[in-house]
Amino acid sequence: MKLTEIKAIFHNGLWKQNPGLVQLLGLCPLLAISNSAVNAISLGLATTLVMTLSSGAIAPIRSYVPNEIRIPVFVLIIAVLVTVVQYLMNAYMYGLFVVLGIFIPLIVTNCIVLARAESFASKNPPLASALDGMAMGLGLTTVLTVLGGVREIIGKGTLFSGIDLALGESTKSWVIHVIPDYHGFLLAILPPGAFIGLGLLIAGKNWLNLRAEAKTRNNQSSTPIVGEAVQG
C-alpha cells in the first residue's frame, strides 16, 4: 500500500467523510453516550475496534459471499465480533463493561459499521479495509469525544468524570473540575444537548470547509471577490 492511499483513507475517515459530521451514520450511540468524555471515548474506541476487525474480516472473504446474502453475512460477522468484544470486556475490563452497559451490544446496530463493510470492505483488499474501518472509527471517536467533553463541561462542570470506572480507583484524581461549584445545566446532559451540540459541530465543520474553499478559489483567481464564500 502506498502512503498516499493510507493518507487518503485517514483523511476520508477523520475529516472528509467523517461518520459523525458528514455521513451522519451511527447517531444512536453518538447522541446517547456522549454525555461525558469518558463514556464517549470508551464507546468510540470499542466501536473503532469492532470496525477495524469487521472490515478486516469481511474484505478477505468478499469474493466467497454471493451478492444476495452479503448483508446477512456481514451482519453475522459484525454481531460475532461485537459479542467477542463484549465477552472480553466482561472478563478483563469489568469496570468499563459496566459503564458502557447496553451500548456495547448495540454496536451491532450501528449503521456506520455495516455501511463501511458494504461500501468499502466488500470492494477493497483486507489491509486497506481494516485501515478504513479504523479511520472511520477514529473519526467517530473524535466527534464523540469533543461532543462528550463539551456536554460534560456545560452540563456538569467537570471533565473526565467516571474515569476511575474505566481505568481503576487510582485515576479518580484525574477528574478535572473545570468550573468549581457549578450547579449543572441539565439540558446539555439530556438528549436535546446532544442534538444541539452535534448541530453546532456540523455547522463549525461546514464553516471551515467553506473558508478553505474560498481561500483556494481566491488564490486561483487573480482578482479576489469579497463575500464569494457565501455562495459556496
Binding site: Y64, V73, L76, Y94, V98, L190
Partner: protein, 220 residues
C-alpha cells in the same frame, strides 16, 4: 427450475457455513472467558458485600455460610438463589440476599441487599442493570449516592405504604424524567423486607456444613 433450486441451495449452504463458523468462534470465546467472567463477577460481589456490610461486623466465612432460597415472587426471582449469612461470634449480623426488580425501564435490575436481624437495611447495591446511561443509571453507586437512601431504613421507619418514590406519595427521591427505575427498585426492596419478616428465622438458623455448601465453596 432446477437451476434456481440449485443456486438457492448453494446460497443457503453458504449462509449456513458462515453461521456455523460464527457460532464456533462465539462458543470458543465463551468457554475461554467463562471462568474469568465468573470470577470477576464473584470478586465484584464480594467487594459489593463489603460495601453493604462492613467487614468488621462479621467474622464468619461468608461465602460458605449460605442458604438456598427457592424462587419467590417477593424476591422477583424465577430460579433458586443464595443468601449469604454474616455472623459475628456466632450471632447473626446480617442476611445478604440477591433479588431482582422486575419493573425496570429496560428489563430486570439485579440488586443485593443486606438486612440486619432487626429488619433494618444495612445497605443496598445494584449488581446489574440495563437502565439508560445518564438517565436511569443513578441507582448505581458509581453514578450517584441515591441508593444510600435505604441505609438504616426498615418497615418500622416507614410503613409499607410509604415505600414509594415521592412522586407516588412515598418517601424516596427520584430524578425528573427517570422515575420508572427508582420506582422498581423501591418496590423490590420493600418486598424483600416483607419476605425477610416472613423468613427471618430460617435465614439465620445455624448453617450445617452440608455436602452442597461444600460444592458451592469449592467451585469458587
Amino acid at each position: 427450475m432446477k437451476r434456481i433450486a440449485r443456486s438457492t441451495l448453494q446460497t443457503a449452504i453458504n449462509l449456513a457455513f458462515f453461521a456455523v463458523i460464527g457460532t464456533a468462534i462465539l462458543a470458543a470465546t465463551f468457554s475461554l472467558t467463562h471462568d474469568a467472567i465468573e470470577s470477576t463477577i464473584e470478586a465484584e460481589k464480594l467487594k459489593l458485600i463489603s460495601q453493604i456490610v462492613p467487614p468488621n461486623q462479621y467474622d464468619n466465612d461468608i461465602l460458605r455460610d449460605v442458604k438456598n432460597l427457592p424462587a419467590d415472587a417477593l424476591l422477583g426471582t424465577s430460579a433458586p438463589t443464595i443468601a449469604y449469612i454474616a455472623r459475628l461470634k456466632e450471632q447473626p449480623a446480617a442476611a445478604i440476599i440477591e433479588v431482582v426488580a422486575r419493573e425496570g425501564y429496560s428489563g430486570n435490575i439485579r440488586l443485593i441487599l443486606a438486612i440486619r436481624p432487626n429488619g433494618e437495611l444495612s445497605g443496598v447495591r445494584v449488581l446489574a442493570h440495563k437502565e439508560t446511561p445518564g438517565l436511569g443509571d443513578y441507582i448505581d453507586i458509581g453514578k450517584s449516592d441515591w441508593i444510600k437512601g435505604f441505609d438504616g431504613k426498615s418497615r418500622i421507619t416507614w410503613g409499607d405504604a410509604q415505600w414509594k418514590v415521592k412522586k407516588d406519595g412515598g418517601q424516596f427521591d427520584s430524578m425528573a424524567g427517570a422515575t420508572i427505575t427508582p420506582r422498581a427498585v423501591v418496590k423490590e426492596v420493600s418486598q424483600t423486607l416483607q419476605y425477610f419478616a416472613l423468613h427471618r428465622d430460617e435465614l439465620f438458623a445455624p448453617t450445617t456444613v452440608s455436602a452442597s455448601t461444600h460444592v458451592t465453596g469449592d467451585s469458587k
